[in-house]
Amino acid sequence: MPEIIDPKELDEKKIFLILASPGTIRQRNIEIIKEISALGYHTVVITTNFPYSVLTKLYAQGGVSPDSVSFIDAVTRNSIGNAENIPGIVRFINNPANLTDMGIAVTEVLKDHQGKKICIMFDSVSTLLIYLSSANISKFIHFVTNKLRLLDVSGIFLAVEKSLDPMLMTQLTTFVDTVVDTG
């Protein structure tokens, strides 16, 4: 299986948009984390669909070391109402539509991991469409990519292929360095 993320580009702190079919997007998520973990990167997964506890199990099943991943979880608190952050493992935000909290969480996580080889993975742009207009999603991703570039951190945005309208797709393409369609 050819690698999805080019290690050279990752080291150059490039920002990626990874497209996958609805049926394979979870598998791509696991493969990417395995790839970049093998390169010594710690991945911060921003999850907007599965709670972090479920993702942890899926990653474990997929052979991903739990130490190589931490989470910003936008699902759990939305379901059970209250969940305490676990330092180094998970930060909870109230719901996926709260972009302000999400932005703050990203900033704080990046601060926590300053000086380390870190990569932010956003799973996924498509889920955000349930809660936000493409204009707001575009603004948020612009904010996050700017932040990543300022802090010299690489980032990966996952999206379901053909799910984004041409306008949003064009905007996202201009924010990222590389678009990989994994099919």
């Binding site: 609805p22 599965f50 759990t76 469409l129 349930i130 207009s133 493409s134 799910s163 309208d165 306008m167």
Partner: protein
């Protein structure tokens, strides 16, 4: 000889009396010498009441200031020549109506006496029709331009002024307005070619869309229709332009909105489906705790509720944005 002269006079009197225009013969001091039947019909003043008097003009022009202005105008004309042509005045008839009269005069000598033959044509109906036509042209909510030979602009209505920003005075009698409206040489050339091709095939064009640049440097989309008319052997082009800029913007906004909402409805349903299928597999494999199953199900239920809310928002927006939706469908969409 005498008989011949009498016959001639009778014929002249008959012509004078039955003419369809008002004819008044005036003496040296402006007194009425002759007043035909049409003059009686138009003014309401009878021959017997005014022959020999010059007071009829005061009756026809009762407003002192207006009478003065007409007198001054006539005096001005008579300074250089002893007749006048197509002088238009408005008279007040005996019954109080206003009539527009086009005057022409000629000075003659009759049996050694100086006479002025005054011919007045009642153009009231013509003027009313013209005013009505002009009012329609000016108040039309479409750009209306009439082009004469060599593309010279003959008519440029108020809507044309409003849409393009170019006033009547800047356009009438000239043919350079198109260069101003299409400042880009390439675009102008492409439009000219397109028009020439259509005209060569049909003599007119319908719903041709072009983008003009207004005097304020704004771009407006105009849908053009033309017709060719022929008046007294001269061909004129009537160009009617409808400003469809806002309509196009609305259409584009609607398409953008529908695309956005399609994306925001279709994709999430797929996401819910995949998440539930994946969760089912994990449950089967015994990987999820009861709390996790509840969390996943609640999460997807929330997603579904949000999608339902998005659909409602979509229905409302479509109804608001597209008023052409039939009533029955509108009610259905409004829920």
């Amino acid at each position: 000889m005498e008989n011949t002269h009498n016959n001639q006079s009778c014929i002249e009197a008959g012509i004078l009396d039955n003419a369809l225009v008002m004819i008044a013969v005036l003496g040296e001091r402006g007194q009425v010498v002759s007043w035909n039947h049409a003059a009686e019909t138009i003014t309401g003043y009878l021959q017997k009441d005014i022959i020999g008097s010059n007071s009829v003009w005061k009756h026809l022009y009762p407003d002192r200031d207006y009478r003065k202005s007409v007198t001054e105008k006539i005096a001005d004309i008579l300074k250089t020549k002893n007749y006048f042509e197509d002088l238009e005045t408005t008279i007040r008839t005996r019954s109080g109506e206003s009539r527009t009269i086009l005057w022409n005069t000629k000075t003659i000598t009759d049996h050694g006496l100086p006479r002025v033959i005054t011919v007045g044509m009642d153009v009231t109906t013509d003027r009313q029709e013209t005013a009505f036509r002009e009012s329609i042209i000016d108040n039309a909510y479409v750009l209306l331009a009439v082009l004469g030979p060599k593309g010279t602009i003959l008519v440029w209505n108020k809507a044309a002024e409003m849409i393009t920003g170019y006033s009547n005075g800047e356009v009438i009698g000239k043919n350079d307005i198109w260069k101003k409206l299409y400042p880009d040489t390439e675009y102008r050339r492409s439009i000219t070619l397109k028009i020439a091709k259509i005209i060569s095939e049909h003599n007119y064009f319908e719903n041709l869309e072009t983008t003009i640049v207004t005097k304020n440097n704004e771009k407006r989309i105009i849908s053009w229709n033309t017709r060719q008319t022929r008046t007294r052997g001269i061909y004129h082009e009537i160009a009617i332009g409808r400003d469809i800029t806002e309509q196009r913007k609305a259409e584009e906004a609607l398409i953008a909105y529908m695309t956005e909402m399609t994306m925001r409805l279709k994709q999430p349903v797929g996401i819910i489906n995949n998440t539930l299928m994946e969760s089912a597999r994990l449950v089967k494999e015994g990987m999820l705790t009861t709390d996790e199953i509840i969390m996943v199900l609640q999460g997807q239920a929330r997603n579904a509720a949000q999608i339902e809310s998005n659909i409602r928002e979509f229905q409302t927006a479509i109804v608001e944005k597209n008023l052409s939706i039939p009533e029955a469908y509108r009610k259905f969409l409004e829920g």
